[in-house]
């Protein structure tokens, strides 16, 4: 395996992704502005479904480009053992990690907005604003096309440098770290099932939140029913996704108190709140109960957003908060 050649191929691949994705990344905030304008201004409202459809298509095209990028990554990125000289496997980076998380969330909400039928006219502006916020944040903050997968590239380029350095200890250390990430993270079946289920639930909860706001605003019980339908649609993948995380966490984070890690902690709290919301709803006919149910629906979504943010700001086993910049990771691995 020629490590320098792989490094060059990766640089060229990242350049190709940026070439294809830069226009999409620039178009997303622009289209988001149009989306918000059509959602907010009554005389433009008729165009809202079309703009939302255009946004969903743009996001889908971008997702296609990212999928191609991931296939090429799989073909290029292998892990070779310095002890045996054999390739232990290729790295299958999932499509919903690091800089791509917000993007997939935006795409899912956009598709749900396009498919939305019940109370479509009332809910569509709120859903459109949510899509606009997510798409703009994905384009301006996460930047999946121009700064793709910084953690992965930091670790993998560090591994390539260490393997090419000719220092056996550095090569072995980098190999062990990379192989661990390959087996327990990137190629783990869990990483291919747990996050998409959670993002599907996040999408449904976003629509449920918009309906809950309408319920509070209008006190019209039909909106409560709509909020409930979307919440129960989200609750199934949320529960399944979180359950599937349990045996993986026991195995991969053995010896760590992972349940108090910020992200895990907040996720459990979010699940508790949605469980409480769906349970509280059984007593909706009691006097004044709808206020509590509505408050729980809104609180649950607020905690969902905090749960997402916690990954980046609160340190712990399930966190990017202590992540080093790519150059530092590479320099550190090379200097080992």
């Amino acid at each position: 395996m020629d490590f320098a050649a792989v490094q060059n191929d990766l640089v060229s691949l990242i350049g190709s992704l940026a070439f294809v994705g830069r226009p999409i990344q620039a178009l997303l905030p622009a289209l988001s502005l149009v989306l918000v304008a059509t959602a907010v201004l009554p005389h433009l409202r008729r165009g809202l479904p079309h703009v939302l459809m255009a946004m969903a298509l743009l996001l889908a095209v971008g997702e296609g480009a990212l999928a191609w990028f991931h296939v090429r990554l799989y073909q290029l990125c292998a892990v070779l053992s310095p002890e045996t000289g054999q390739i232990t496997g290729r790295i299958a980076v999932p499509l919903w990690v690091e800089s791509e998380k917000l993007y997939i969330w935006a795409l899912i909400v956009a598709v749900m907005g396009v498919l939305l039928r019940r109370h479509r006219e009332e809910l569509l502006p709120g859903v459109a604003i949510a899509v606009a916020v997510l798409a703009t944040a994905a384009a301006l903050w996460a930047r999946p096309f121009t700064e793709p997968l910084p953690q992965f590239f930091g670790q993998y380029s560090g591994y390539l440098q260490a393997m090419g350095s000719g220092i056996p200890q550095a090569a072995l250390g980098a190999y062990q770290g990379m192989e661990g990430s390959r087996q327990y993270f990137y190629n783990s079946w869990y990483m291919w099932v747990h996050p998409p289920l959670l993002f599907l639930s996040y999408g449904a909860f976003t629509v449920s939140f918009v309906a809950a706001i309408w319920m509070i605003r209008t006190r019209f019980s039909a909106f409560e029913e709509t909020a409930y339908r979307w919440a129960r649609f989200g609750y199934l993948p949320l529960t399944t996704g979180m359950l599937l995380g349990f045996p993986w966490a026991i195995l991969a984070w053995s010896g760590e108190s992972w349940w108090w890690s910020g992200k895990v902690n907040m996720s459990i709290m979010m699940w508790f709140l949605y469980t409480a919301y769906l349970h509280g709803r059984l007593y909706l006919r009691r006097r004044g109960m709808w206020r509590w149910v509505a408050a729980l629906a809104v609180l649950s979504f607020a905690v969902l957003v905090l749960t997402y943010v916690a990954t980046y700001v609160v340190p712990g086993a399930h966190s990017y908060a202590f992540a080093l910049p790519a150059e530092e990771v590479a320099a550190w691995t090379a200097s080992c």
Binding site: I250, M266, M269, F272
Partner: protein
Amino acid sequence: MDRELLKRNWDYGLTVATVALLGGIGVQSFVGTIYVWWAQRTTENWERLGYAGFVNTMNAIAAPQIVLLVVVMGLCVPKRLFSRRVLAAVSGAMLVVGLVAWLLTDSTVVGLTAYLSLAGLIQAAVVMLTVAGVRGPSYLTEGRLTKTGSGLLHLGFIVFAVVVVALQRSTFMLPVFWAATVLMVGGTALSFYADHFATRRLRARDV
């Protein structure tokens, strides 16, 4: 107060207790997360020096709430099957068995496992009776499929609680965990969507 009203208030009380406990653990989680965020920003090397203490404190605060949650979950089980007097006797007996197991072995894990096992057995009977269409089990929901879903979901919760409480380091952990997952996911799907399918079938037949 008539029997039906008492039963409804017992149901309501258990639901409020469940929601309050879930809320309590939720608030603790939130405060804990904010504390970690604040501590790692203000205290140098906090991860190395303070994290273990933080985990111990969080475990100590959460433990009684988790135990109470398990107890409340167990108390939710016999209400489906028994009327007022028998319900009080069965619930009391479950608590006594758990307490005796705890006192005899000096282990909270054994006490909770004994309590959960009894709850699991009763819940399994509830599910079987519901599937068989016997009138006995009472639910807040309507329709046999929806009731079966609710029964399976609660059985799944109990089995999952057994995994968390007693089986984390056991070789049985994975198979029992998968059984709990199937029960919970299948139960959730049935209790949320069974009425929808039933209505569709009915409509198709009507046409």
